[in-house]
Amino acid sequence: MNVRIWGCRGSVATPGPDTMRYGGNTSCVEVRTTDGVSLVLDAGTGMRPLGAKLDAEGVREVHVLLSHLHLDHLQGLGFFRPLFDPEVHVHIWGPPSPVQTLEERIALYLSPPLFPVRLSDIPSRVTFHDAPEQPVSLGSAQVVAAAVTHQGPTVGYRITDGGGSLCYLPDHEPSLGVTLADLDTDWISGFALAHGVDVLLHDAQYGDGEYAQHVGWGHSAIEHVVEFARKAEVGRLVLFHHDPYHDDNELDALCELAMTMLGRGEDAVQLAYEGMQITFGVSEALR
């Protein structure tokens, strides 16, 4: 499979000269399976340019895998060009809720006064699915989801295809109220999804000094991300969901800190950036 990042900013889009290197668009990751099926992880503002690309390619079926419905992971959906093409079948997967269906919750955004077009008036064929608790085949990829620690119903995804594996945990606070280093791994949120994957895209919102003011907000400090990745024995850690108040230089410093904590270099830990393409089968760095 091929993976390309179209947005990796957390919380709110952050364009400007200070975020040019890593980008200001919110969460959106394109996964193209080995047999060519289009998967899209989250619908942040990075989804707009991705939609234009998929439209130009004439893609007729897309699977959008939502981690949760916070606006920074949903806002791009209304600007996703394939959604407005009657020839396209868009599958939208997302976390279940005991209160409302996925369609009902998404319609809260895709309806006036927040959006001019109602979800029911979208011209493409749209099918809603609960995020799969058991592996499902989407093209050549096996996809599975699991609930993880964040604010409100939230899932992470594990995608396996062509001998490579990717785990996507963009918003995740596995250390809430506990010390990860002391926990047995089966008690760590998201562990089974991430265990042994080639590449882990993980929430890295805060510097360690910032976390104390944001406990319970659903995000991780660098220290937590590093410990999680180490315990999960991932091949490569990609720091994701950058804080909107972190400029490029501050992100570089956080990545340096992560590398120091791991005692590893750029082969083992990297910052996500817009346009980043991820290849598989090349790194065993953290194992």
């Binding site: 699991a146 620690t149 089966d186 265990h195």
Partner: protein, 134 residues
């Protein structure tokens, strides 16, 4: 998912809560095993969770040594945790609890099932409120 074992998120979050409470709290999983109790609950049992680890469904009832408030025997399935587990509903009672060191406490016990979905129970939370010690 990978092949690594993983607890349900409802249990993980409940454990996080328990670990940060000064009130004795016990966690029972969907199989009926006692999979965690916090530091405050050590007094009720008499040993730390680190010492005992997970306690099977067959033995945790004996370890907690629960009795009715007047000291009469109590079947485990009639205790609030037993009701919450077997009948999948909340329950509350005033009971006697005898620790491994022989200390007898009068406790209010509240237990409730953890449902992540309406038809999928992941376990039971039991909270003990000490009212009297002898």
């Amino acid at each position: 998912m990978g092949t690594a074992p993983q607890r349900a998120l409802a249990l993980i979050v409940a454990r996080e809560l328990a670990a940060n409470l000064a009130t004795p709290m016990f966690l029972i999983d969907a199989a009926g095993d006692l999979v965690f109790y916090n530091d405050a609950a050590e007094q009720i049992i008499g040993k730390s969770f680190a010492e005992l680890g997970t306690i099977s469904a067959l033995t945790w009832g004996e370890m907690l040594k629960l009795a009715k408030a007047n000291g009469d025997p109590l079947r485990r399935r009639d205790s609030p945790p037993g009701i919450a587990f077997a009948e999948r509903r909340p329950a509350h009672a005033t009971l006697q609890a005898t620790a491994l060191d022989g200390t007898v406490r009068l406790v209010e016990v509240t237990a409730y099932p953890l449902f992540a979905k309406t038809d999928e129970m992941h376990g039971v939370v039991a909270i003990f409120w000490e009212t009297e010690r002898s």
